[in-house]
């Protein structure tokens, strides 16, 4: 696996004329799980895409091992980091095996399409994600959680040290969300892979992240260990949400309870 140190240097990102991220300096922690949080449209996904060289910076640069990513060969970047985009698409009838095999693309040539290394990496990616038995099934016949695991397997087959995932738990029920996050947690714990996620569920984010990066106003509002940086003020400033910050009764990590309306059984005049 190739080590990858990812940094941004006065990075400004924009879509057409609208600036989304302005002058950002940031270094990704290696061998840790980092989660980007922030309100809708704050630029989490945009930042993630630019870290994977999918979006060209308006100004500044994304550095990979100290070198401007844009000056590197595409296949070199592809061997250093993998990204699983939000809501990925696959052609009808594509099997799990044929999807995961694509992870070997940066290593292959037209005359060299299935080396022993390719075979080894694809098999171990399937095993790691417990998809070996399902490898001949079409992707569209799988459950949401299995499908997400297949995309993670593709990233694993790519053999990169760093894996970026844009909202990998969206559209999954709670059980499958936990299943996917557990898988990523294991990959980080056992193999030391650097995992970067965009997540919307704050409580799960705080449970799994070694480091959270909260984005607001085109900048990083705060970054650090969830237990050190999550406060009522922080949640309010980042999400414009009033809340109570408690502690997860099982994991001890910060636990956000949003204010708002709803049935309140503690209020005496509330009819059940």
């Amino acid at each position: 696996m190739m080590m990858a140190v990812i940094q941004t240097r006065s990075l400004t990102l924009s879509y057409d004329t609208e600036t989304v991220i302005q002058g950002l300096d940031f270094t990704l922690l290696e061998n840790k799980i980092t989660v980007f949080v922030g309100s809708n449209g704050c630029g989490k996904s945009t930042l993630l895409r630019s870290l994977a060289r999918l979006l060209e910076p308006k100004k500044g640069a994304v550095l990979l091992n100290g070198k401007d990513m844009n000056s590197l060969k595409s296949s070199q970047v592809a061997k250093s980091l993998a990204i699983s985009p939000q809501g990925p698409i696959a052609p009808e009838g594509l099997t799990v095996f044929n999807l995961v095999k694509q992870g070997r693309y940066p290593y292959q040539h037209w005359y060299q399409q299935w080396t022993e290394e390719d075979e080894k990496m694809v098999n171990s990616a399937l095993e790691n994600t417990q998809l070996t038995d399902l490898m001949d099934c079409p992707l569209d016949s799988l459950s949401g959680g299995q499908r997400q695991r297949a995309w993670i397997a593709l990233a694993l087959a790519q053999g990169t040290d760093t894996i970026l995932l844009d909202e990998p738990t969206t559209y999954l029920d709670l059980r499958h969300q936990v299943e996917v996050l557990d898988l990523l947690f294991d990959l980080n714990k056992k193999e030391g892979r650097t995992i970067v996620l965009v997540l919307h569920d704050l409580n799960l984010a705080f449970r799994y992240a070694n480091q959270i990066v909260a984005l607001a106003n085109k900048q990083i509002y705060v970054q650090g260990k969830p237990e050190e940086v999550v406060t009522r003020k922080m949640v309010h400033d980042v999400f414009q949400l009033k809340c109570e910050v408690s502690t997860d009764p099982i994991f001890g990590t910060p636990f956000v309870i949003p204010f708002g309306k709803g049935r309140n059984l503690y209020e005496s005049n509330m009819s059940v």
Binding site: R49, S75, A90, P91, G93, L94, N98, G103, Q113, W114
Partner: protein, 346 residues
């Protein structure tokens, strides 16, 4: 892993992975194509038995059979095989590039451009210029309309959706112009134009085969080499780029391959467009959507459809010789619907 066969050279310099099912299907399709070839060269106003036809094909037949088969029917069947394969591969590539199952060579203006140019040629130049220039005119028409569509769709790169929308727009314009041309032209020219538009390989000669073959020899292997990059493009532009593919460059090359194959096929066979739509679909239902398997299977299915269609077209209403295009849909569509029905929970 027993569903797949690995081929590796001693030092691992060459390595390929082939699905067993694909090999089985390809073998069956090859045999079928051979059988239909023999039957097809045998039938017509003079019926020659398959055994006699085989003998003739290997050079041991009667002289009059040799004349009928080798000079008249074989070039036509060969053209059917080539045109079918070229259209099918072209359509398969476009469906992958555009990520839309309704894509076919029509969508990037190949049929529309070729039709417009061919009808213009038939209407205005057929009296002054020899008919043998018609394929060239059709090819140039296909090429220029595709270039126009591709450049209009370009905005810091081409996205599939822009390509489809611009393609549909321009194709509508070319088809109205073609209709206008037919309405304004004399009766004999109009009827000739109409046959061309339906798609006919009537009167194909060995010269046509020689004109078409180089395109296929160059571009079909290229298509197979590029199969890998269609596979990653089908996962979306972001995914393809993050896997290290040069998406825009590869997309451009794939469209060029597709235009070259369909353009050359259309120039000889007329607007036999339906094959390009249906053959890749049938192939996908049989061997799945991996392009290494899909393209060769689609090519043979395309060949089979055109041989069958043309054989029916020239024999069903003897002595009338009907354009093959009338029957490509008639043969391809029911088979496709059968496959859909069989895999309805797929």
């Amino acid at each position: 892993m027993n569903k797949r066969i690995t081929f590796r050279s001693n030092r691992g310099y060459y390595s390929f992975l082939v699905e067993k099912k694909t090999l089985t299907v390809l073998t069956m399709l090859f045999v079928l194509t051979g059988i239909f070839l023999v039957i097809s060269v045998g039938v017509g106003s003079t019926i020659i038995s398959p055994i006699e036809a085989m003998k003739t094909l290997f050079g041991y037949g009667f002289d009059q059979h040799t004349m009928i088969i080798v000079d008249l029917r074989l070039p036509r069947v060969t053209i059917a095989i080539l045109v079918g394969a070229a259209m099918a591969i072209s359509g398969g590539i476009l469906q992958g590039v555009i990520r839309n199952p309704l894509a076919s060579p029509d969508i990037i203006g190949i049929s529309g451009g070729a039709a417009f140019a061919a009808v213009t040629f038939i209407t205005y130049f057929s009296e002054t210029l020899s008919i043998k220039w018609l394929p060239l005119a059709a090819f140039l028409g296909a090429l220029s309309i595709s270039i126009i569509i591709y450049s209009l769709a370009w905005k810091k790169g081409v996205t599939p959706i822009r390509l489809v929308l611009v393609g549909i727009g321009i194709s509508t314009i070319t088809s109205s112009l073609t209709t206008l041309m037919i309405v304004l032209s004399p009766y004999s020219a109009a009827s000739q134009a109409y046959i061309w538009l339906t798609g006919s390989i009537y009167g194909s000669s060995w010269e046509d085969v020689i004109a078409l073959l180089p395109w296929l020899i160059i571009f079909i292997p290229l298509a197979f080499i590029c199969g890998r990059s269609i596979n990653v493009q089908e996962l979306g532009d972001d995914m393809a780029r993050s896997l290290g593919s040069h998406v825009q460059l590869h997309r451009g090359i794939l469209v060029i391959i597709s235009v070259a194959l369909a353009g050359s096929a259309v120039s000889i066979g007329g607007a036999i467009g339906f094959v390009g739509l249906i053959a890749p679909h049938i192939a996908r239902k049989i061997v799945g959507s991996s392009f290494g398997s899909l393209l060769p299977v689609a090519a043979l299915i395309g060949s089979l459809i055109v041989i069958l269609a043309d054989t029916v077209a020239r024999t069903a209403f003897l002595p009338l010789d009907i354009p093959a295009g009338v029957f490509t849909a008639g043969i391809g569509a029911p088979f496709f619907i059968y496959l859909l029905y069989r895999n309805k929970n797929f």
